[in-house]
Assembly symmetry: C2
Homo-oligomer: 370 residues x 2
Amino acid sequence: MKGYVNNIKPYDVLSHDIWGMDQAEKEKCLKLDWNESTIPPSPNVYNRLKDLAQRGDFYQWYPCTHNLKLITDISRYMNVDKKNIQVFASSDVLQEYVVRCWIKREDNVLIVWPTYDNFRATAEFAGANIYYSLTQDLRFDARQLQKDIESSKPQMVYICNPNNPTGEQIDKNIIEDIVKKNKSVLFLIDEAYAEFSGKTVADLVDKYENLLVSRTFSKAFALANFRIGYLISSDSNIEMVSRVRNAKNITTFSQEAAIAALEDLEYMESHVRDVKIAREFFIGELKSVPNILDVYPSETNFVLIRLKSAGLKQKFLCFMKENNIYIRDLRQNVLLEHFVRITIGSLEQMKKVSKIIKEFCSLYHEGSSI
Amino acid sequence: MKGYVNNIKPYDVLSHDIWGMDQAEKEKCLKLDWNESTIPPSPNVYNRLKDLAQRGDFYQWYPCTHNLKLITDISRYMNVDKKNIQVFASSDVLQEYVVRCWIKREDNVLIVWPTYDNFRATAEFAGANIYYSLTQDLRFDARQLQKDIESSKPQMVYICNPNNPTGEQIDKNIIEDIVKKNKSVLFLIDEAYAEFSGKTVADLVDKYENLLVSRTFSKAFALANFRIGYLISSDSNIEMVSRVRNAKNITTFSQEAAIAALEDLEYMESHVRDVKIAREFFIGELKSVPNILDVYPSETNFVLIRLKSAGLKQKFLCFMKENNIYIRDLRQNVLLEHFVRITIGSLEQMKKVSKIIKEFCSLYHEGSSI
């Protein structure tokens, strides 16, 4: 065994209570803990998968290895050439292959933090030294990042944009500036939530050889279960990662689910519009409650909330769970001990959630014994 | 980029013509190139997946991360404790995690060869030095392997048993003997075809900490499309690999397909019986044709065939393809330039194939101008 592996903290997927429930229990719950879509994907996906399940003459065969139809459809959706795209069985798997291609033991990796933890775990398992670029108020600071790049001399920098769990979007010109300034550093920009911000740096990949952009069907397209991610980068980077990639590993059900979702962009776009309306309503509601929590602005399908104390946060989590609302406790992260993250659903769903939060706030208003 | 990665030969998945065909073309074809099942999986799988496609209330959620039902069912099937089992999104993915746990750059890896090429590619991409243990006549030789272990001092030895593409089964006591004799070496025994041989070393994992056994649902269970593999090893090895494993990456469709297949073992067992009957019939038929090919004994769902010349092999492949039969050309492997591999299907299917091969043999009998 590699000695260092034993000491590494795995990427902890935390509780996933909903899969242990029976159907009746499940239907009572609102799952707002993993930033999944709170509504199902396009009906087009259901029609496609019902057809596949009916036919099923391919079950015993390995899936199509070229993934050409899916790549062609992504190319049209992203307005990026096919040669600049490769698909993977999730963006987590994409990260594993990126690490296998470009990170070796004792390389330095810089992570703009706090953020999604999977890349840290993947790079650390490969033996990389992890450095963090962070600010006290949780807001991105380009000058701080440049300083951290200069001092840590990383092989790769990971930036989630918009960021999870802060919800913040970094401007495209700021990203471009940093990528341009540090040509010897590879930048992995994780755009898992980009459909909600409407912004991307994917069109820059032909200009900068040191830019990798990761995307997913798990969020706005509501296909988390099917595990489809894709990488956008220069043709030579795509060629490199394709040499390492296992081409057999995307099931036909998953390939077709993604293809069917791309055929109904209007459905996804309408969901994104709904989430934005619900998010602004929800943030507005929480700002009006007694001063026991802060809610952060967000360009994603979730909001970051700070409770006034760690004890209050525990009570908040329990109260939400008693009301069948599952949200994410960010306790794993030392900086975020007082924080929770709540996924944004439809306006109707968020009205319900804000009503319950207000009930909690009236029970535990500032000054009450908590 | 890691300098050495550029020079590595990827695991080449070769042509996969069938996915480019329309339905009518597909139905005319017999796909005998990837050792998949030539019949669909149990009707229980179809019923389960139709239900799931109908329900689909989980599409937008990440899959269950514990995989507990599947592990419990595998535990019953393999008669191995749950703590000794972990599941992966294919046995190729399993190999990636094994390499991430136990192989570092410049480690030596010994591969009993010729064999399935994915482990070579995966270990090589991790920077391992690859050594091969082989014999001239393609038959396994335990003394040769022991010599090769002593000279190459590997961190890990990969043995596919029964082996692909030779079809040979190594006796359990021979495996146990080598594993016992080389306690500092980790042995990965790939039992992808073990349902066809009916033999396993999985019950030895509690006895030997240096034994990893890999299994799959892709072959006898006819679920290649769903990408499910599992590892059987000591509880501490399972715990280690579980720290690295991404728990989200097995879709619900895949988990449920495997669970449904395990609920109908009789179907799988009946398929295995049919394949064995068809295999012995097929081998017998080929032995009776003019002396232009040799067929090897096999304890799997495929047979290895040697043509008398490379030119004859090319003609043979073309003839088979003209008759809509897809078989595997083993030209990638320098030792196997004259060889092809043919998957075994039902007796009816193999009667058809042997009839066509006999036609070929009568056209190109020994001495004819080829």
